[in-house]
């Protein structure tokens, strides 16, 4: 536009940056919003913990549209926010465009690898945690049939399912695994009604333990499992408290720890690929007062043994995304 407008723009930009403290961290939540009871909320929990401990200032945005992904990244980077954390694989493409333009800003992306010198890519070994809850499921099951309900049918969720199936087969080679996906679109992350229907369908096929790796859809799975008096397994956050005595355990994926680490380390954080697995408490299974009656000492001993073996590398759990196939489950 006109020269005057660009002058105005420059002064507006100065006015904006003048008010900002240098190097505030920034958090970008995905379209699900920060109160999704799942993935984004875990990220928010990490932010909250950092704020409670340090009292620091930070910037955040819940996205409303796809076009805002790149826009939010650029705006936060221009404002001097550092580091900038984003939750979700949907940011991979915009980040790979934006990161080279701001070499002095550090970015962190969760659940996806972006290859740039100023990006920390945080990925989780969900198959390892799922393996452990799979073992627990097989041992808790009386019918010998266990269920898996995934959210959106993407390789990431198949990775959960595949790890789970391997754990089930390890504990009970004769067990049957029923796996269903809620849908093929992001809407599948937040469809508790369909989650409930799928749970009922799996119960009618004999399942008596159901593992939900489906974001907000899992709320419906856990609810129906409790209503129908079978056991369920939660995901991402510890969801044992939702239905005490009905949730066998939860596969915890410590997105909160990942976000907290990035916020704590600030602009000096290391970049590169960070794999969060059993060895560094990135994933695990939840044991608390709500489910201690369900996990017998024998079950705990067997799972802890497997956990130690996976952590030290003597037991390998197959990662679906490594070759797009699974030895114990057909999709």
């Amino acid at each position: 536009m006109t020269f005057q407008k660009s002058l105005l723009g420059a002064s507006a930009a100065i006015a904006l940056t003048a008010g900002a403290a240098l190097a505030e961290p920034a958090m970008i939540y995905d379209l699900g919003g920060k109160f999704d009871k799942s993935f984004n909320e875990a990220a928010f929990a990490g932010v909250t913990r950092w704020v409670d401990e340090t009292g620091g200032e930070f910037l955040e945005i819940e996205l409303q549209s796809e076009a805002q992904r790149e826009q939010a990244l650029r705006r936060f980077a221009e404002r001097g926010a550092n580091p900038i954390v984003m939750a979700g694989f949907g940011f991979a493409d915009p980040l790979s465009q934006v990161a080279p333009d701001y070499p002095d800003t550090k970015f962190a992306i969760i659940d996806m690898v972006v290859d740039a010198p100023n990006v920390r890519s945080i990925v989780f070994n969900e198959h390892e945690g799922s393996y452990l809850v799979g073992m627990l499921a097989a041992e808790a099951s009386k019918s010998g049939t266990v269920g898996f309900i995934g959210g959106m049918d993407v390789p990431l969720i198949r990775k959960f399912a595949c790890g789970y199936a391997q754990g089930v087969k390890a504990a009970n080679p004769d067990a049957t695994i029923i796996a269903n996906m809620t849908g093929t679109t992001p809407a599948a992350w937040n469809d508790p009604v369909k989650g409930s229907e799928l749970t009922k369908a799996q119960i009618s096929q004999g399942a008596d333990v159901v593992y939900a790796a489906a974001g907000g859809t899992g709320v419906g799975v856990l609810q129906t499992a409790a209503d129908e008096d079978i056991l369920s397994i939660g995901v991402d956050s510890n969801q044992n408290y939702l239905h005490p005595g009905k949730v066998l355990t939860s596969m915890t994926k410590r997105v909160d720890n990942a976000v907290y680490d990035v916020f704590s380390q600030g602009p000096d954080m290391e970049t590169g690929i960070f794999v969060m697995g059993l060895a560094n408490d990135g994933v695990g299974y939840a044991l608390d007062e709500y489910n201690e009656a369900l996990i017998t000492p024998e079950m705990k001993a067997a799972v802890d043994e497997a956990s130690a073996a996976i952590a030290d590398g003597s037991l390998k759990v197959h990662d679906y995304t490594s070759d797009d196939s699974c030895p114990d489950l057909q999709f």
Partner: protein, 364 residues
Amino acid sequence: MEKMPAWADVILIPLISLVLAAFISALVILFIGQSPAEALKLMVTGALGSTYGWGYTLYYATNFIFTGLAVTVAFHARLFNIGGEGQAMLGGLGVAIACLYVPWPHWSIALVAASISGAVFGAAWAAIPAWLQAKRGSHIVITTIMFNFIASAVLNYVLVNVMRPKGSMDPATERFSQTIHLPTLHEILLPFGIPFSKAPPANISFIVAILACLAVWALIWRTRLGYEIRAYGHTETGAVYAGISPVKITVITMLISGGLAGLMGINNVMGEAERLVLNATEGAGFIGIAVALMGRGHPAGVFLAAILFGFLYQGGTELALWTSIPRELIVVIQALVILFTGALDNMVRTPLQQIFMALRRKES
């Protein structure tokens, strides 16, 4: 009833509606403990205070011009096309197919081809409801809105099963080739020595949108077809008596309307994302209805209303970035403007008309 002066109809009514919407929005912001003055300042400087803000405002406006024109053209034949969303989705698919599967040597050729492809896809999507309306009497409001859902399901299927690169989790196509990158306003204005921010996605599609405005104006008021469309819209029986075929007008009008909505794909798919993502339209088809209502059936009005809505979108993003106003409330503010300018138009119009009539009676 006596008519109001044109300036009151075109300027005064939208202005009063806007002030009312702004007033209620201010109350809402005040209610959650934030400063309305600060919020307004942030929106204005964020959307209009820099070439950066203008870039985003014009990018969103370009989308709304296309969908607004689509609704406007249909309005003239008294057809309520609320399928702009679905037609724009399919248009995006058409653009993506043209961009992905043909190795264009230059962006200008690709732009022409993508425009044609997008418009054809959008028009094809509008053709079925149009035919059903013309031949079967199925109401176009019902069929077009249902076709939005079908379009979204089609896009879903195509992106998840056909066009997604192997191993990708995102339901999206791969990036288009760099040779067909559309020039952004930054690149267009640079040779003229005008500095324009590099970041925003506003691109040459904005100029195509302006041309589309002119073309629609010429079509409606300067061609025989436009005359037939308007005649059919005013009185169907009269038009039939004059030898105008309702079937022909319904189908042709909807084809043009769908084609305009489909053209939006060159802006959001080819210009911005440079790949096709799920939900690329993001409600622009529905905003087009509000834009057309506010534009009062004239392309110039559509252009201005589209800029206003572009401002609201970009201003809303700035609010989301720099304040703690929750995103749901930003949608409320945007919705209030739509409510007052679109749905509650008569609330302002009727009293205003009475005032003008009272004044006129006094004079005479």
